[in-house]
Symmetry: C2
Subunit: 604 residues, 2 copies
């Protein structure tokens, strides 16, 4: 459960409008249903955005599923009410709203209070106190200015509700987090892990929150994509392999630092953070380390990044320690991932509310012999003696033997059924103690959860990659996306579509596609304009086929960031671009011969 | 819009229970929320199923998006009511239901009629006639046997409804097809295509239908995944490149054949089907050809496959020709894809209901000079003369000039406003005819739609891949999945986890992973049992590391289907398995040296 991100709640006026405009114009993302006036909180990923998002999801899958040896499932987004009774969402997943009696607009009451006071997390204040604060400060409707004093503040459940089948007898909800689709299926999933801890189950999919005030493009939306990993561990036996990430440096904004006036982010290695007990869960520390490397890989600007610990009042009731990865977007800190040690909360709740076991069997190192008290009540005595209550009395005797065998030490034993005491002679209970050999015990796994907001990461990556510079005296905007994430890896252009240049360029494009690269062919407009188009969508490499290409089978390969150009043999092209995309030390200048300025294809 | 598949509506008793049991046991799919008693129509893809589904989606994307040069978007699943008013789903997307007055169960009234009569498509019969048929045949509640005569049959909308934001003033629905997320965004999407037809926009995502009677595992569910392509074409100018698929043989079950007693599937090439006008839309014919090759690629048994043309009564009102790809599963024909020529229906409806243009500008070959009648009403006359109606009269004059300029031939002209005639002297209308040069015209694109049901294809592929045979005298069940689709490409086993065999095997597994292959490492149980485990999930290749491997750096590579084994040098392994997976003529026997029976690792 990714907690709400209060610091993201600033006005839309903070948005990076250049980026939002570029995102819309170039097909990254835009508000949905524009032809119908739009509906707040719903966004479409256009052709570039859908591709970037998929690449980001693949990079996540590679790191957090495949390389960690976890598995991934794909569960429904609509789930029945019973699941959310168990998870606590039905009762507790609320926002405080106040509806203006004049204009009818609903507002987040806690946000009104935060805007008008020094309070940072008004969400955790009881409703009546929020009402009092609104009255005391004479807060007004942001839409029409009407006074909101004495207007009741109510709780609004953030789940989208619906009905499954005809009628209203089977309510369902759009899941507010992908996690519940994993927790609720634990009894099945543990079978696939052959009942052995630890194991991790991941899911990338839609989740929904009926936000009162969606805002800031992809930051606070009503429908979004999460990538969540639920790592089930034995709290007594399983430890992470901390050595693998021990030296990773974490920019930590711990709770005490947030509470001190002068507190600020402190950089500690994973090893130090655990040794100094700044991070209490080793599992959480492990994932902060893994994730830090991954954020670097996907192009997050680590100078605009921090891990913020939840304050005690902010902690969800189930989580003992929780850290948010936050990125700076448009000048605000935005939560992009929540890392929580959830203990056995989720599985225990589902065990309590359902009929299945949410435990695994933990084998002892050696079988253990224990004494166990049992009863075998004489029903031919209990029956006539207690009539209709006899069976219940027998059950009560069984429970008592298990819980307090000493009670059978005298001549009689007393059990309570339906509030009435029943006295039974011990000799009629068949009480005895036997030795039993047990090979293990049932334990409820604990859960470590890294929960990523995919849309917020897409937005971060775009914002952190956005650059402006000047090329040949003209202003240029481009996206410095890592090649792994770029929607298109190579743009292929003929200098012009004549004299066989177009055909040759199409062949080059086909070869590159056959090598598994994402390729765009473009023959319209001046070469410089075609470069700009690719720059704006973050295409890291462009290939130009010119008259020399027809002679010597080489092409110009151009680097997005430096605009440097080299000459590469056509048959070497797929391999060299693949090497550049894979990273690993291949430098652009090394993949071909330098191009002198001034040649036809050399124009940028 | 994939039409309902009536023929799939047989009882669950037809299910292939071996397969459903294997699917659950091995983690392909299982009913969701089992701990809470389950909810009909919702399924979870387990670790194997999610991987198979993703591989199938990737194969679809490769064929229908990348190789066709189309783009893909990712739009929200919750959409506002206005979209479905336009699309017709709000009014027309209904099932007929009858609720038993005794037990309260709801049933599909049309299905009851179909089960009891020879009628095959009762869906198209009016409600009152269905009521009459129920009474006439004395049909009874399938659950409790109560007579349903005189019980009203009602229409039940199949969309899941919800509310966006607090209150009920902004109703929304879970999209019943991914297509609407493309149609509604057409004004934006055409910009990304630079306003040029033809272009195609695809989407793979969730869609929802609140089925009355979900059944047959993945066949009729309430939440499912679609892969839809909306190909926007100029009906007068764009033609498909039929030559690319002209020789593909299509098993066609045309409407006339379905209506004749002895009619059956006829195999025609795409060329013949178009020439003989069996398929009227060349675009539909093109996609049937492309799809046929793709079904073969993903492992559909083409002996249990056909294209069935919609009967005239079954055709959606917007579609002029519609063919379903059907596969035989569990002995029934099930629609897995709908191919429809939808004309301009969808875009016209959205244009009508919204404020945006759903057209593209079609450039003429040569600019055309046309005469255009215009008016410029003298408001100083109209104002005093017609008072409050003056502006409307001016508008009416403008419309009349465009539609019937001849009306301005006399001295007066009469227009109607609010049912009243208004007579205006022509000289006060400013009527004139001018010559205008037009470079093109606005046209509403037509839509060709192949719409794939991903879950039904997953189920088909599993069912068609399921095999039983005998190996070494033991019954074996395995999945003959194409290597491209198999959840795991290679299983890697040490003969046992000692003497360094485990470490060597883990190195081999890492090398294979680094080559981009999906790998499972397994060291538990006898080798034969580990083979069986991989056979059951369709892993095409297994590698065993034995004592010889430590000496000569070779391993045993085993083929799932033939259980043949060859010896391969470890450093050649990634390349050879990748070649096998890619297909293209590499034979298993050619990738290594034959293994004699009886060697340790040779045991199967």
């Amino acid at each position: 459960m990714t907690a709400d991100d209060a610091s993201a709640d600033d006005a839309d006026s903070d948005l990076d409008l250049d980026l939002v405009e570029l995102a819309k114009r170039r097909g990254f993302f835009f508000q949905a249903n524009g032809a119908y006036g739009g509906v707040a909180g719903f966004y479409v990923y256009g052709p570039q955005g859908a591709s970037l998002k998929r690449n980001l999801e693949d990079a996540w899958r590679d790191r957090f599923v495949t390389r960690e040896g976890h598995v991934e499932i794909d569960a429904p987004t609509v789930m029945p009410e019973a699941v959310f009774e168990a998870s606590g969402h039905l009762d507790g997943f609320d926002d405080m709203i106040v509806e203006c009696p004049e204009c009818g607009e609903s507002h987040r009451a806690d946000h009104l209070v935060e805007d008008a006071t020094d309070i940072e997390e008004a969400e955790s204040i009881p409703t009546d106190e929020v009402e009092a604060l609104i009255a005391e400060r004479d807060l007004r409707c942001p839409t029409c200015g009407t006074a909101l004093a004495d207007v009741p503040v109510s709780e609004f459940n953030l789940m989208f509700g619906t009905n499954i089948g005809p009628g209203t007898s089977s309510p369902g909800y759009l899941r507010p987090e992908t996690a519940q689709g994993i927790f609720a299926e634990f009894p099945r999933l543990k079978e696939y892990a052959r009942g052995q801890l630890p194991f991790g189950v991941a899911q990338i999919g839609r989740a929904y929150r009926n936000e009162i005030s969606p805002r800031r493009a992809l930051v606070r939306v009503r429908e979004f994509t999460q990538a969540e990993l639920e790592h089930f561990v034995d709290p007594e036996r399983d430890d992470p392999d901390l050595e693998r990430v021990a030296d990773v440096e974490l920019p930590l904004y711990a709770a005490p630092d947030q509470e001190r006036e002068e507190g600020s982010v402190e950089v500690l290695t994973v090893r130090e953070a655990v040794a100094e007990n700044v991070i209490t869960s080793e599992w959480v520390a492990y994932y902060l380390g893994v994730a830090t490397r991954w954020y670097e890989r996907i192009g997050v600007d680590m100078d605009r990044f921090r891990f913020r610990q939840h304050l005690s009042g902010e902690l969800a009731h189930y989580a003992s320690d929780c850290w948010d990865a936050e990125t700076e977007i448009d000048g605000n800190w935005v939560e992009v991932t929540g890392f929580a040690y959830r203990g056995d909360y989720d599985l225990s709740k589902h065990a309590e509310h359902s009929d299945e076991e949410f435990t695994v069997f933990r084998q002892y190192d050696e079988p253990v012999t224990v004494e166990r008290a049992t009863v075998d009540p004489d029903m031919s005595y209990l029956g006539p003696e207690f009539a209709g209550a006899a069976a219940d009395v027998a059950d009560a005797l069984e429970d008592l033997a298990a819980e307090a065998p000493d009670a059978f030490g005298g001549e009689d034993v007393t059990v309570e059924v339906g509030g009435e005491p029943y006295v039974v002679p011990v000799e009629k209970t068949g009480f005895g103690v036997e030795e039993v050999t047990e090979s293990g015990e049932h334990v409820t796994p604990h859960v470590v959860e890294p929960s990523f907001g995919v849309g917020r990461l897409v937005y971060t990556v775009l914002e952190h990659a956005y650059r402006e510079d000047e090329v040949d005296g003209e202003r240029r905007s481009y996206l410095e996306l890592p090649p792994e994430l770029a929607p298109t890896t190579v743009g292929v252009f003929p200098l012009m579509d004549k004299d066989g240049l177009g055909d040759r360029a199409r062949e080059v494009a086909d070869d590159l596609r056959a090598a598994g690269l994402s390729v765009t062919y473009d023959d319209s407009g001046a070469i410089g304009r075609r470069y700009r188009r690719q720059d704006e969508i973050g295409t890291p490499y462009c290939v130009t086929v010119d008259y020399d290409s027809l002679e010597d089978d080489t092409v110009t390969l151009r680097d997005r960031d430096s605009t440097a150009q080299v000459r590469v043999p056509i048959d070497e092209l797929p391999g060299r671009i693949a090497a550049l995309r894979a990273g690993g030390g291949t430098e652009f200048a090394d993949v071909g011969d330098p191009v002198d300025g001034g040649a036809g294809a050399g124009v940028d």
